[in-house]
């Protein structure tokens, strides 16, 4: 109870519009384990998502409530088909929920126009995928700089080109890929590509990192290296990370774990 009031106070103080829904369930949820990290960055309220196949409704998410607090590393775990990837896409505004609301720093984001969501993804969210999703035509460096190219106009980009490239090289150095900035993705190994993808997701200094099975396609050792990078980012830069995985051992490493089963949050 204490924590929830403090959340409200914090958001009121910072002048951000409060979510206008009350959270009766929130109080009951075991989310008050770490009172230190109190500020809620991302919040989902009663989010549902259905797919339609031949006009038959297939529910994927059936009312998810969760909140992500600033600076924590949250793992969402569930079997394949449990809707965890879909949930991550909804949180990352790549898709629209059927019902329910999503708030980012207290502002509703699921009903924003596309242009605003584009800006949100570009500036505030970093996304990492299982299959890295680097652009094969571009070098590693260009892939890393890509979000800046998208957000800045051509003149602004040229004006800041050197700073941007320095920043990208710095990030590549950080993920241990400094020497390979001029290589194409096809010349990199899986782990290296995922490092590049992490560097890309960090270039705009996002508030939140959304990772969809970042180690799903990697062998154990390489996956562990990637997880270490993410962990160090979380600890050293206090970066909030939401990670979707099906691997219990990875989930165990996180600050907090949410289990999904049949489109619902399983009580821990």
């Amino acid at each position: 109870m204490n924590s929830s009031t403090s959340v409200r106070q914090a958001s009121t103080e910072s002048g951000i519009q409060k979510p206008h829904v009350s959270f009766p369930k929130e109080a009951n949820q075991p989310t008050s384990q770490k009172p230190v990290k109190s500020e809620v960055v991302l919040q989902a309220c009663g989010v549902t998502k259905n797919y339609f196949k031949n006009k038959i409704k297939i529910p994927v998410l059936r009312g998810i409530d969760l909140e992500v607090r600033s600076g924590e590393q949250l793992a969402i775990i569930g079997q394949s088909g449990s809707g965890k990837s879909t949930l991550l896409h909804l949180l990352g505004t790549l898709d629209n929920p059927g019902e329910g609301e999503i708030f980012f720093e207290g502002n509703r984001i699921d009903n924003l126009p596309n242009s605003a969501r584009d800006v949100l993804r570009n500036k505030y969210f970093g996304l990492i995928f299982q299959f890295y999703h680097l652009l094969p035509e571009l070098t590693t460096l260009e892939n890393v700089v890509m979000p800046l190219m998208i957000s800045d106009g051509i003149f602004k980009y040229w004006w800041q080109k050197k700073a941007n490239i320095d920043r990208a090289k710095e990030l590549l150095e950080l993920v241990g890929l400094g020497h390979r900035w001029n290589h194409r993705p096809s010349e990199l190994s899986g782990g290296e590509m995922q490092r590049a993808a992490i560097a890309r997701s960090l270039i705009t200094n996002p508030k939140l990192l959304l990772a969809d099975e970042p180690t799903g396609n990697l062998d154990g050792k390489t996956g562990q290296e990637i997880l270490e990078i993410l962990r160090s980012l979380n600890e050293e830069q206090n970066l909030t990370i939401v990670m979707v995985t099906h691997d219990e051992s990875i989930a165990a490493d996180a600050d907090r774990t949410i289990r999904l089963k049949d489109g619902l949050v399983e009580a821990a």
């Binding site: 596309n114 584009d118 993804r121 998208i150």
Partner: protein, 538 residues
């Protein structure tokens, strides 16, 4: 920025797309070549048409003409003022030109034009097409000793002297044989035989028959038989001139014939283009034309060919024949009580004068409902020809642009495939925050770049082709054995080609527009892709 970078990378890495724009390249190159050649033909033709003809033709509607052309010219001068550069009276009549070839009179249809040798040069560049260099400097209707184009071989006085002296020798010999025959007949028959002399000496026609009947290796003989010169109206002194006329020293009134009237162009066995001459400067020809008056009769007049002209326009070269104006007026009976008649006045305007506007001013002064004059610009007179060339160019342009449009569909198909191939990348871009418009403009830029590359290469190819069009045509002839450009048909030695920069710019812009248009649909598809579905796409 990412749009440019990505479309540039796509351009460099997608060779199949480059292959799809080869048709665009070829289309652009062909368009440029066709336009250049058609413009070359058209401009060259305009130039030749206008060089031969004056700017404005002031014609009487009938063959009898109008009186006192000098007064008309004075009035035209008053109407046109400074815009007038020169004007000259002419007489134009349809006529039949007959020349002796292998001992027979061969008629051809020509348009006979009587021109004033002093003033005609002021309205037309006629002189520069003449084959005698002295005539090119100053036109006259006298046969020259020399200065004829080397193509003609023997021509002028030296040629005439040989021909005429051979004819004279032949005539003398025939006369001698006749005399001997007559003498024999007299000796054999006591009674005077009337049939002999009557048959042989009576008129032109039997003589012609005799001439035709005897195979003459000396070839074309001038009609210098005194009896043939007899009906000549060009010798007003009549009988005395007949006696005095010596073909080796004298000429009839001069005549300038079109090159194609006087020659036949054909190929020999080896495919070389050869001109064989039906008559040359120095030969005599006979003109038959209607006299003036309400009931015209045919007038037969002998002329001596003094020169040929070659304008390159087959229409002119094969029909027009020029004689001195005064001679034609007299022969047609167009001088009454000292007043001359003419059928047309040719008018030349100064450079930069407005052709249509000047023509309109003349039409206002001589309205069609009160004067029997037809006033036309040279463009109006050659309207059908010029319009035909213009229409040909237009149709070719439309057809070739259709080809480029077809190529556009090739781009469309290739682009759809590229969008499908890039579905995942599009999803990535969207997940990184690229707006739909940005994704769309990647592909539009890509289309524009493809169009630019295609039309740029096409433009360079086309311009190179135009620059070396004649060597290329020759090379094609060697390779295929087919004549690409037949000089016997076109009367151009080389293919004329003029590049109009405006046309080139339009072709290139139009092509780029088509390429962008073809990429709109695939780009829209790319823009509409749902990010999650695009990311999941395998």
């Amino acid at each position: 920025m990412y749009k440019l970078l990505l479309s540039w990378r796509y351009l460099r890495t997608r060779y199949i797309a480059l292959a799809s724009i080869i048709s665009v390249t070829l289309g652009v190159a062909t368009l440029i070549i066709v336009n250049a050649v058609m413009a070359g033909f058209s401009i060259e033709m305009h130039k030749r048409l206008n060089d031969m003809m004056s700017d404005i033709m002031f014609q009487a509607t009938g063959l009898n003409g109008f009186p006192d052309p000098e007064a008309h010219i004075a009035e035209i001068k008053r109407v046109l003022g400074d815009d007038l550069e020169g004007a000259t009276a002419t007489v134009t009549v349809p006529a039949m030109l007959s020349f002796q070839f292998r001992g027979q009179w061969v008629p051809t249809h020509v348009t006979l034009i009587g021109i004033d040798e002093e003033t005609y040069a002021s309205v037309s560049d006629f002189r520069k097409f003449l084959l005698n260099e002295q005539n090119r400097k100053k036109l006259n209707f006298n046969l020259h000793e020399s200065g004829y184009d080397s193509r003609l071989g023997q021509a002028g006085w030296p040629y005439r002297r040989i021909q005429e002296s051979a004819q004279q020798t032949y005539d003398e010999e025939r006369q001698r044989i006749e005399n001997i025959q007559r003498q024999k007949e007299r000796e054999q028959q006591t009674g005077p035989a009337e049939t002999g002399p009557a048959e042989l000496g009576a008129s032109d026609i039997p003589v012609d028959n005799v001439a035709a009947g005897i195979p003459l290796d000396s070839g074309v003989g001038g009609p210098t038989d005194p009896s043939m010169a007899d009906p000549s109206l060009s010798n007003p002194t009549g009988e005395t001139a007949t006696v005095m006329f010596d073909g080796t020293k004298d000429q009839f009134t001069g005549l300038i014939a079109g090159y194609t009237v006087a020659s036949m162009r054909r190929r020999n066995k080896d495919g070389e283009v050869l001109d064989s001459y039906l008559f040359r400067p120095g030969d005599n020809v006979k003109l038959t034309f209607p006299t003036a008056g309400d009931s015209p009769t045919a007038a037969n007049v002998y002329f001596t060919v003094t020169d040929l002209y070659e304008s390159g326009m087959s229409e002119y070269d094969s029909t027009l024949v020029f004689v001195p104006l005064s001679e034609l007026q007299r022969a047609r009976g167009m001088v009454h009580d000292g007043v001359e008649y003419a059928t047309a006045i040719q008018i030349k305007l100064r450079d930069g004068a407005n052709l249509e506007e000047c023509c309109e001013r003349l039409r206002e002064r001589f309205p069609a409902d009160r004067f029997a004059y037809r006033i036309q610009t040279w463009k109006e007179m050659q309207g059908p020809l010029l319009a035909a060339v213009k229409m040909e160019t237009t149709i070719l342009n439309i057809l070739l642009f259709l080809i480029i449009a077809v190529a556009g569909f090739g781009i469309l198909a290739t682009f759809f495939m590229i969008v499908v191939e890039k579905t995942k990348d599009i999803g990535v871009l969207k997940s990184l925050g690229a707006p739909s418009s940005g994704v769309m403009s990647i592909f539009l830029t890509y289309g524009l770049a493809l169009g630019a590359v295609g039309s740029g290469v096409g433009m360079v190819l086309g311009l190179l082709f135009v620059a070396y069009i004649n060597p290329i045509a020759n090379a094609l002839e060697v390779v295929t054995g087919q004549e690409v450009f037949d000089p016997t048909i076109y009367y151009f030695d080389t293919i004329p080609a003029i590049v109009n920069p405006v046309t080139v710019v339009w072709v290139v812009l139009g092509t780029m527009f088509i390429a962008v248009l073809a990429s709109v649909l695939p780009a829209l598809r790319a823009a509409r892709l749902h990010p999650v579905e695009a990311l999941r796409y395998e």
